[in-house]
Subunit: 418 residues, 2 copies
Amino acid sequence: MDINQYMHTLGQQARTASRALARADAGAKNKALLAIADDIRISALTLKQENARDLQAGQEKGLDAALLDRLELTNARIESMAEGLEQIAALPDPVGEISDMNYRPSGIQLGKMRVPLGVIGIIYESRPNVTADAAGLCLKSGNATILRGGSEAIHSNQAIAQCIHRGLQLAGLPTSAVQVVETTDRAAVGQLITMPEYVDVIVPRGGKSLIERISNDARVPVIKHLDGICHVYIDAAADLTMAEDIAVNAKCHRYGVCNAMETLLVDQAVAADILPRLAQRYAVESVELRGCEQTRIILPECIAATDEDWDTEYLAPILSIRVVAGIDEAMDHIHQHSSGHTETIVTEDYARSRRFLAEVDSSSVMVNASTRFADGFEYGLGAEIGISTDKLHARGPVGLEGLTSQKWIVLGSGQVRS
Amino acid sequence: MDINQYMHTLGQQARTASRALARADAGAKNKALLAIADDIRISALTLKQENARDLQAGQEKGLDAALLDRLELTNARIESMAEGLEQIAALPDPVGEISDMNYRPSGIQLGKMRVPLGVIGIIYESRPNVTADAAGLCLKSGNATILRGGSEAIHSNQAIAQCIHRGLQLAGLPTSAVQVVETTDRAAVGQLITMPEYVDVIVPRGGKSLIERISNDARVPVIKHLDGICHVYIDAAADLTMAEDIAVNAKCHRYGVCNAMETLLVDQAVAADILPRLAQRYAVESVELRGCEQTRIILPECIAATDEDWDTEYLAPILSIRVVAGIDEAMDHIHQHSSGHTETIVTEDYARSRRFLAEVDSSSVMVNASTRFADGFEYGLGAEIGISTDKLHARGPVGLEGLTSQKWIVLGSGQVRS
């Protein structure tokens, strides 16, 4: 098989399907989503058989236990895929939404209409449930999709693709609206990200090295998320009980997630009060603490943080702590070390809460809430295709709206320019 | 001078200035804009002296008359730069606008805040007035700017930069908020578009080859506009008098602009009626017509259009004409040949007007209005930094809002995730 030719064919088919999908009404799209959910439930046995082939190949290849776990399709995960599609069907259709219609002095009536982006390429790693989730979000937002999953999940992904195609057919939508790349050849990725004539945007999901490689090589816009180096700043005017709960939740609720806190900043005025209390809580959770010099005066048992710590996303029960002279030093630290994902201030001070909200340049900026809320479900987006730390287009959790754009529409009655 | 080192220094200074600018209130920014406008008026003589150096060098280099014209700073153009800045000062400040604040079931209050993008790099060709216009828009939207004008306008641009710096100083804003690259070395452009650590977005303004080169080489998002192949479709149910006026205005109001019509599509049901009337009007304006076979049966004097014509932005008194079987064929033609800029349907048919608005995938889609309205001033944006034919982020005319992004803000009262 000539990979370039194969990918061009997928691209052409996706571009053609994208026009049918952009025209499809919410009824047809929801019918397809519900039919795919039904088909996934009915096909549970087949899905598990195909998944078993991937698992066996993975074991033979010596994949580690964590990877094999992510790869496995259990009954619960199959049911969760189906439920996810039903939830997407229940969301309002963003396509065609008209806003800001106003008359201009020339007499034209001007506004904006929300429309699909067109064709979305999704590149992801081992978890096969992404195939259903991503296809569902793209379908609902009227976009055609080309999905390229990990080679270790190829049989599982192809089996899910069959369910999707049957659902699309039942709803009278073109099956090429969702195409799952059938080859494990890596050249397919290289081709997918360099076909601006067929693909409007790429969403890579996976480890940092995958995303960096794709960003560097893509000739198509990329909605991406690299790091989640999130900060909590405990201000001098913080409610210290609240600060304690937020700092523990932001670090310990889950370790391997991008919206977990990695660095705690504490105003020197309250450091001696709050740090020993926090150290006790973190000790219970077996969190390793790495502190600046001032932190270590208060917590002598704390390991010394190195320069590298401030730029590290641990994704683990490790926390770096720095005592700062005030909000300006805290914000300077954040501007220098944050990945632009999520930052929180804990304070009861009105002016400083406003400054933090206005001046911190991250996709989510919070007052008195855990960084863990930066999430598509918590934000009411229903589901998310990913979290963007870019500034253009979608920022933060990307749901249906992030998969659309707004075009200008003009209603006239014969106006010409003079 | 080491160009890379020089550009890095500009980048670092811009990044630092961008934080001060993001914090600056509307009062300070407007004060700076008005001070720059005053300074430009006061400095008219100096501006013309420096401009004369560029003009002389251009003549010696043998630049053509059109280029020399674009390069010239007349009294009227100097006044127009000053007025442009005053108009930008009068626009509402987009920064800090908070929208969609709602409580989530968790108790957090979630919304969006509009914020500057950060640092914007602008690359443009001969017209020195872009220096003032672009600096003004970026300043008002709270962004630091690095401007790289054409080498033929270097003295004019540096003189305008002096006015801008004096205005910034008077308003207490850092002068490095607007930096005009002082070298004409082309390596500066290569460096500017590959410093994602300092530059958040590049806006290239100029010919297609410049923009294509920058898009290909950039490591930073690019807000760009390549072609303006705009279409007018005269539907079977068009008011033919209206259609005639719109088709003439869209082609003849100005030829060298991106929102001029390049191809006219006519439903076969009205072609025999409208084409001879239009041919008369175009003859008066000396517009050369190039038609499909059916067009040439109705207008035998018309030149035969080649395949290339449908993909050509003439920017000249030339028009390609194609007779189509109906709206589907018209939209197929547009999808195949349009550059995604602006398309118009002329019709009195309700259903077809809705289909055209929904299904045509261009940055501006119009019913019964001239394509010439696709413009920042006509759309009420006050001014535009450019017109984007991309789908992500800003689409169509890009004004202040297109130079900002929205971050999520969360107001809590101690919420943690359970």
